[in-house]
Symmetry: C2
Subunit: 246 residues, 2 copies
DNA sequence: ATTGAATGTGTATTAATTACATGAATTTTC
DNA sequence: GAAAATTCATGTAATTAATACACATTCAAT
C-alpha cells in the first residue's frame, strides 16, 4: 500500500541480528485502526457506527475498527475493516491522526490510528445487513464509546478543511450528480449556505465538470443536468498554490 | 497533553476485567516517535539530524526519535525527545503522520509516528553540544537511515501547506524580526520568490504585526524595523475560512 | 561627499469574489 | 389544459483582493 524504502536490505546478517535484538528490547503495545466512514444522505452528512462489542460500553455506538496485525500496514488494516464491514473495495481512505490517551480504552493501553473514509451510501456493493450498524447524523453524536466522539470530531474538521482544497466530495455522491446535489453536499459538510449562482460559477470556472447530457430522473420538479467529475483532467492540472492567509 | 475522554471510568469491575482480557489478546508491537525538527539559518530551512546508532546504518543520518513507553502518550514521547536532545521545552510540535511499512526498520516491525517541530536555531536554551548532531539543509538530504527521507518529505510538505494558513513560521524566527527575515523564511520554505512590496502589504493588512519601534543591529546596510507577531490578537480573530478551490 | 545597497511606500491593472433578478422547464393543482 | 408552484439556468454590476511595477529614503562604506 505504502511505497516502502527498503531498509538496509542487503546488510550483513550479524548487523541485522543486532538490530533485531534491539527492537526486541522495545516496549510493545496494541495498535488499532478506527475508520470514520462518512456518507451523504437526505442532505445530511452521516457517519457509519456500530454498537460497541464491549460490555462496559453496552448500548453505546462506536467506530468501525480493528486491531493491526503483526505483519500488516496501517493502511491495509483500515482497508480490511472497510472491506469486511461494507463489502466495498475502491473506497476513499486517508490516515488522519493517531490517538494515544492512556485511558482511552478501558482494557488498557491501546493506541489507535484514525482514518477518514468517504463512500456513496447508495453504492450497490454496500450491504449493511448487520442491524448493529447504522448511519448517524454527524451533528447528533452523543454518548459514544471510547474517545470516538473526539476522533470523529477530528476527522470531521479534517474533512471540512480538505474538501475545500481537494475534490474529495465526489466520493460521497453517485458518479453522475446534479449541481444542486453537489452544492447540498458542500453546504452540509461546511455547515453554511452558499449562493447558488456563485457556486455554479465557481465550479464551472474550474472546468473539471463534464456535462453528461443526461438529466435527473424521479425528481418532482424541473430536472437538473447531470455532471461527472473529470478526475483525469484534475490530476494533470495539479495547481501549485501560494496564498499566505491567516 | 491530550484532552482525555475518561473511558468508562466508573464501570463495574468485572466489565473492566473483561476488557482487560480482550486487550491482552491483541497483537502488540513496538511504537516510536520521530521528530522532524526544522530550523532556519542563513536563509535556508534546516533539519536537525543525528548519526544513526544502528551499525547497519553506520555513517548515515537519521531523525531524532525514541520508543514510546508503555504509559506514555505520543505527544509526551515527542516532547521528551525534544527536551532530551535540545534542552528546549516550549517548542512548536505537531503530530503529522504514522508510518508503518513492514520493512522500514531492519530490526523488525516498528511503527513510528512523525512529528513536525519548529524552533529558533539561535535560541539560548538550544545546546547542541553533541557533535553527532547537525543541522542539514532540507534540500540536500540523501542516504538517510530507515525511511527517514520519506518522513522528512512528508513533514516538509505538511509545513509548506500549513505555513500558508497558520502563523507557524514565527517559531523559526527570533522573537523580534525584520520583514525581510520573514520574507526570506517564506521564500526558503515555499521555494519561491515573492514581491517585497506585496509581501509587506499582505502581512500589514492582516494586522498581526506589532512594530516594536526597534531597528535591526549589526547589519551592514540600512537597518529594518523589528516586529513581533501578535499571537494574542490572532487567537481572538480565528477566521472562519470558506474558499473552495482546487 | 559620493556611491552602493537595502528599506519603505503608492498606484494602476487585473483577477476574483460577492451580491443580486429574471426567464425557462417541468410538475402539481385546479 | 390553463394557471400556479417549484426549481433550473444564466448575467451583470460592485466590491474586494492580487499582481505588477518605480522611486525616494536611510545608513554604511569608501
Amino acid at each position: 500500500m505504502k511505497t516502502s524504502t527498503p531498509a538496509a536490505g542487503s546488510a550483513a546478517p550479524h548487523l541485522i541480528a543486532d538490530a533485531v535484538e534491539l527492537v526486541h528490547s522495545y516496549p510493545q503495545m496494541p495498535l488499532t485502526v478506527d475508520c470514520v466512514i462518512f456518507g451523504f444522505d437526505e442532505n445530511k452528512l452521516k457517519v457509519l457506527l456500530i454498537r460497541s462489542d464491549l460490555e462496559v460500553y453496552k448500548g453505546k455506538w462506536s467506530l468501525l475498527g480493528d486491531i493491526v496485525k503483526q505483519t500488516e500496514e496501517l493502511d491495509d488494516a483500515a482497508y480490511r475493516v472497510l472491506r469486511e464491514r461494507t463489502g466495498m473495495t475502491d473506497v476513499y481512505l486517508k490516515q488522519v491522526q493517531a490517538f494515544s490517551s492512556l485511558n482511552r480504552h478501558p482494557g488498557g493501553r491501546v493506541v489507535t490510528v484514525a482514518y477518514c473514509s468517504l463512500l456513496n451510501i447508495r453504492h450497490h456493493e454496500l450491504q449493511i445487513t448487520d442491524n448493529e450498524l447504522h448511519w448517524q447524523n454527524v451533528r447528533s453524536l452523543k454518548d459514544m464509546a471510547f474517545d470516538h466522539k473526539e476522533i470523529i470530531d477530528a476527522c470531521y474538521n479534517w474533512l471540512q478543511k480538505r474538501i475545500q482544497e481537494h475534490p474529495l466530495g465526489f466520493n460521497l455522491l453517485p458518479e453522475k450528480f446534479s449541481l444542486r446535489e453537489l452544492q447540498n453536499l458542500y453546504e452540509a459538510i461546511l455547515n453554511v449556505e452558499l449562493d447558488r449562482r456563485n457556486f455554479r460559477k465557481k465550479f464551472f470556472s474550474m472546468d473539471f465538470l463534464i456535462d453528461t447530457g443526461e438529466l435527473e430522473e424521479d425528481v418532482n420538479h424541473r430536472p437538473g443536468k447531470l455532471y461527472q467529475f473529470n478526475f483525469e483532467k484534475y490530476e494533470k492540472s495539479k495547481r501549485k498554490w501560494i496564498g499566505i492567509d491567516f
